[in-house]
């Protein structure tokens, strides 16, 4: 395993931290009533989006799911427009029409979050097919959860990707549960990636989803083959969501408290920060500087959202169709 450059390590840290702080702020502002609708927090899973997307180019395409803020940030989305969208402002990525579950930025290859479990998988097959038709070595990546692996669309797309050798990376974030249903109960498996191997001959690799370096390396290795036209790969990232399925006061969370605590011990951000300090990749000063910068960015994003106008009611009539 080639050593990751110090600069890259610090970028990985910065991105994870940005996601964490962004999500923490969204949670607070949601419960304060400033943010409407429904939000699914990515806290605890930051290393997955960060380590994976660090291997992507701007022209690679990703498709996300309902827990998509981290994917957007890691792919390089603008925090201001993201926050503005979540705040339902006109300056948001979707002019306030999409909200938390539907942020997209096609200009950077972020083809959108999706509120339907597994609903993004067929779309990602199209994005991968596009890359294939365009020639070159572009790839598509689809993020989905363990629960999505029980939907029919998941199966159909695994098959499509395998028979057409699509340049598609299946990024399964196995956080152990679909809402309150344990993976084992819903799938009978400990590793969803077994399905890719067994039924479709798609290489399936399980990775520690809380170790950003492991995610980065595994993705890098996998992508080499995908870009070379060897067909799809299935990466399963073992991770955990710290908060309830979505933000709601008094939401029933049936997961054991000890389990949640144990995973918090494995915090992807803190563990990585410790490591950087330990092996000298970063100094306390650098860490503090990055933290200060990130906090400022998040505050700026909120300020931008708050300073942005709400859409006019009549704006609802626009964008049903492209002109």
């Amino acid at each position: 395993m080639v050593k990751i450059s110090r600069e890259r390590l610090l970028n990985l840290y910065r991105t994870m931290l940005t996601i964490r702080r962004f999500e923490e702020r969204v949670v607070v502002d949601y419960h304060s009533g400033a943010i409407p609708g429904i939000v699914h927090s990515y806290i605890g899973q930051e290393a997955v989006a960060t380590g994976l997307c660090a291997n992507l180019r701007r022209d690679d395409r990703i498709v996300s799911n309902h827990r998509g803020h981290g994917h957007c940030i890691a792919k390089g989305a603008d925090l201001n427009r993201m926050m503005a969208e979540i705040y339902g402002r006109k300056t948001g990525y979707c002019k306030g029409k999409g909200g938390s579950m539907h942020i997209a930025d096609f200009a950077i290859g972020m083809l959108g979050a999706n509120g339907i479990v597994a609903g993004g998988l067929p779309i990602s097959a199209g994005a991968a097919m596009a890359a294939q038709l365009e020639g070159g070595d572009k790839v598509a990546v689809v993020f989905f959860g363990d629960g999505a692996s029980n939907e029919g669309e998941f199966h159909e797309v695994l098959n499509l990707a395998s028979i057409w050798k699509l340049p598609l990376v299946f990024a399964c974030e196995n956080n152990g549960y679909g809402v309150n249903t344990p993976v084992k109960v819903a799938t009978g498996l400990d590793y969803v990636s077994k399905r890719a191997e067994g039924g479709y001959g798609i290489p399936g690799i399980a990775v520690d989803g809380n170790d950003v370096e492991a995610v980065y390396e595994a993705t890098k290795k996998a992508l080499a083959g995908v870009r070379a036209g060897k067909g799809p790969v299935f990466l399963e990232f073992m991770t955990y969501r710290w908060r309830g399925h979505y933000e709601q006061p008094g939401l029933t969370d049936l997961r054991p408290a000890e389990e949640i605590e144990a995973w918090k011990e494995k915090c992807p951000v803190v563990c990585f920060e410790r490591k950087l300090l330990k092996d000298g990749s970063a100094t306390k000063q650098i860490i503090d500087k990055i933290n200060a910068q990130v906090n400022a960015q998040i505050q700026a994003a909120v300020d931008f959202a708050l300073a942005s106008p709400l859409p006019a009611p009549e704006d609802a009539l626009e964008d049903v169709f492209s002109a």
């Binding site: 339902g88 339907i116 629960g147 009611p313 609802a316």
Partner: protein, 317 residues
């Protein structure tokens, strides 16, 4: 009389029916704790997120002598299982010549207003109305959902129960004694003589509020809640329009090819009723747009009291 919420009334209905009939089975991704506790994990199954499989499994269970109740949760998720609803459940009784019965209840929430955005805000009942073979109920009160849901569980056909997401916490009087409500009987929520307002789901409440207001202006609106969409109680609606001579249909679903179009059509198609019409009927529906996320746009996309009022004033002109 005691008051309980809409959701509690629904839960009571199921509890009573599950106690009554050991052939009842429940399928859903989220377990209803009380049912699970009393009837165990065999009868109260927790499903994976795979709607087509359990919407369809209910058909096989019903065809094998069971009486499944399936909670699909949001109507949005039902589209993943549309083949099982439209091609299978709706047609299986008929295409097999009625040789078997398929008693199934499918529950789905509908509606908007919570900034859930386009994919989680929809009221697709007109799509199901266009599928002969599916009974459809649309309860709007705790009393109604208990009585209609109990009837649905005992019905020998696939019944879809659409529940508006905003009604779950609403309180209403529900007697302790058991009762059932028949399908195909609309409820006249308010008597009136000047205009017939047919309102669906949550709109019943907005229509009633507007009716009260207009009463002060001397406009007497009759508010009808169809309660079930298949069967449709055409008689009650037609008789009301023959009395008032005016019709306004209020539905949160988007306008085009909505349930409101069906109500408007069966009314005007009747020569006898048509002759009594004093003005053009009006539909007050959601705009023909996917539901937007941001509150100002979302409320604009949905019918509101102002629009209902305006429509009633228009037909009164």
């Amino acid at each position: 009389m005691r008051k309980i919420t809409y959701d509690e009334a629904a839960a009571e209905a199921l509890m009573e029916e599950f106690r009554r009939d050991p052939k009842t089975v429940h399928l859903s991704t989220d377990i209803p704790p009380d049912l699970r506790q009393e009837f165990g994990e065999d009868r109260i199954r927790q499903t994976p997120i795979a709607e087509a499989s359990f919407v369809g499994a209910a058909i096989g269970l019903a065809g094998s002598g069971f009486r499944p109740v399936v909670n699909v949760r949001m109507a949005t998720f039902g589209f993943v299982a549309m083949d099982q609803f439209v091609n299978q459940a709706a047609k299986i009784t008929y295409m097999f010549g009625g040789q078997a019965r398929f008693p199934i209840v499918y529950r789905m929430t509908v509606g908007a207003s919570k900034s859930f955005a386009a994919q989680h805000s929809i009221s697709p009942y007109s799509m199901y109305m266009n599928c002969p073979g599916l009974k459809i109920i649309l309860p709007t009160t705790p009393y109604d959902i208990k009585g209609l849901l109990k009837t649905a569980v005992r019905d020998d056909n696939p019944v879809i129960c659409f529940e508006h997401m905003a009604l779950g916490g609403m309180l209403g009087e529900v007697p302790e004694e058991e009762y059932l409500l028949p399908f195909g009987q609309a409820a006249i929520r308010r008597e009136g003589k000047d205009v017939t307002v047919v309102a669906l789901a949550k709109m019943v409440y907005d229509a009633l509020a507007v009716a009260e207001e207009l009463a002060r202006e001397g406009i007497s609106a009759e508010v009808i809640d169809p309660r079930t969409l298949n069967p449709l109680d055409k008689k009650t609606v037609k008789e009301s329009v023959m009395k008032t001579g005016r019709l306004v249909v209020v539905d949160e679903a988007c306008l085009t090819a909505s349930a409101a179009a069906e109500f408007t059509s069966f009314v005007v198609e009747d020569e006898g009723v048509f002759k009594c019409l004093k003005s053009a009927p009006r539909r007050v529906c959601g705009l023909d747009v996917p539901i937007p996320y941001s509150p100002p746009m979302e409320s604009y996309a949905l019918p509101d009291r102002e629009r209902i009022k305006a429509a009633i004033r228009e037909v009164m002109r």
